[in-house]
Symmetry: none
Subunit: 203 residues, 4 copies
């Protein structure tokens, strides 16, 4: 394992002023990421845009990957907050309600900050993007339980879960960009729910 240190922030700012500095840096990173993409993201530009001295940047972050990692961490956090509501509905429901809830959660997650989301998923090189979030998706874990309880007629549960995850993500993700109207109207969601239910309801 090489310097994974590259990804973690350096100092956790405790004082008031420092936190403002860090926030400015993270915000600037997000802005530049959205506007110009990862390629043109440089530590100098981030510092300049944040109105922070470049040396200060290095006081808190070991490099630009760490900045991006922090941006993603905060974004994921925000997404999880957004999902938490729909999450509750997940318990003790029937299959349709469950699937509907799962899809809603996905949509909610994508609605948090679509542009940043796009930048984080599409502009980032996979190497940068993938690192640091290998944990099992809590939503998937929850879904597994529900599906098992409902004894969905599926051969390989893991595979089915993977399919659902893959399909739902893809439809929502591409939908945000290519069919925003259908997403907003709920038509796309409906289509997705139909697809998933037909897939899961087997004899």
């Amino acid at each position: 394992m090489p310097r994974r240190t590259k990804l973690a922030p350096r100092k956790t700012p405790t004082q008031e002023r420092s936190r403002a500095t860090v926030d400015a840096l993270v915000q600037a990173t997000a802005d530049l990421l959205v506007r110009d993409g990862y390629e043109k993201l440089t530590t100098n530009r981030v510092a300049e845009r944040a109105g922070v001295n470049i040396a200060s940047l290095y006081q808190f972050f070991p490099g630009k990957e760490a900045l991006v990692a922090e941006v993603r961490r905060r974004h994921v956090e925000a997404q999880q907050v957004a999902m938490r509501e729909a999450m509750t509905e997940l318990r003790g429901q029937g299959l349709e309600a469950t699937v509907r809830a799962l899809v809603s959660m996905g949509v909610a997650a994508h609605a948090v900050n679509p542009k940043l989301h796009h930048a984080l998923t599409e502009e980032l090189p996979a190497r940068v993007s993938r690192v640091g979030q290998p944990e099992e998706d809590p939503v998937l874990a929850e879904a597994r339980k529900v599906f098992e309880r409902l004894s969905v007629g599926v051969e390989d549960m893991e595979r089915a879960l993977w399919m659902v995850d893959t399909v739902a993500h893809a439809v929502i993700h591409r939908g945000v960009i290519e069919r925003p109207g259908d997403l907003a109207s709920g038509a796309l969601t409906e289509e997705l729910v139909t697809l998933l239910l037909r897939y899961l309801r087997r004899r």
Copy 2:
């Protein structure tokens, strides 16, 4: 629309010698892309690896984006060749055979050069990747005809096509990386075909 010129090659090589040079450059680009990702791709490295003077590189390509564009062009070309066989099965078949053929084509396309495919789809920033291939997928066009002929019970044909496209791509794409075993055994394909058929067969 800024200078799209950045993407087109500069000179088209006419002599034998220069064609070799260009090929070496394109090959080197592909190699480096696979090995180190787009981020670390530099014109200097490409030239060096190709054993070509940097100035020669610029004689034929205006920059690294053009190199990558050419790599992608060739890759897509190879994919289309690979798909052409399965393409023939598409005509005059029933729904299941059609869907099965479509999936096979997708798999075949992904089998051409998986590592390069991965690099081109995952490592490339969307800005770079998306540009220059806005043409309608010929496969989709074909699929539309078949579906219409079979009068698939679907409300909005375009949407359904989009769904099929999105879902199939996602499953195959992620499958290549995350479930290569299932793909090789045909299990994943079968699962995908099932899913698509259930989605398309409505009353």
Copy 3:
């Protein structure tokens, strides 16, 4: 109007250390300009001669034009200082004394740093040279007042001023290079004064 930004310095140095750096850069630019001409002036050479890292150069100047512009700015400043003395004589004098003073001022200006002056006026492409000093010559403004007060017998005052300006500049300018002896002895100055007086004294 393209990025005129290319001409203005980037950062204004605040600390002692950086002021020295900037001075070294400007001085090196002037030296190289005099020695090798504008053509052979490169940012690398400037940085090297100044004993400054090339990146530091770009921290303060956006390119070589800005360096040259700064050199010129300082040179003009020095010239104006040199002219200020003779300037005082300009007030409340008769025509001859006035013309003599004007000529003296021109000579004084050209005496500041003849080699640099030559480099700036002869070696620089007009595009580079002309830009950024379109302001009305304060000397001319002064001369106009004097001429008007003396009610010089001239049809078109503006044209006459332009003539005087043009003629005086040319004689002094070419004189510095081609007839330095005559200039030093005062003979050329005398000739010029004679010429101007005869031109201005009409009935």
Copy 4:
């Protein structure tokens, strides 16, 4: 004396085709000089614009200075042709007619190809510009004779000639750029003639 060869053309083209090539190169050089200035003049660009292979360029010219020298040679030639008419009037006239003729010749020379003239005199670095035309101006030689015959009341004939030359050139040269209206109307010429006559007519 270093490789003055740098300035002379290499081969004098005898065949039809070659002359066309050379002409295209010279013309392209002139065009680029006018449009983009000496700085951006490169052999590659000249060849490209002329529609001539770069290697062919080097068959006829040893470098870009030689190209420019040839452009200037042709321009001067054209100017001399243009001056030849007015030249004839120079013989056996009185002072005023002579001066008037001299000025006319200067104006005629500047009228040949003003833009190219400007490029050649203002954009070219002195080092490049000055080389290769050190010969005594035939016009000046002629003027000397006339002045001597008319026994103009001047102390130092050489100096006076130099003054006339300098002043006339400057007024016309700057006039072309800054007062084209006055030049076209003849007002500027008149002013210049007046100035010169008053200078030359002394007791």
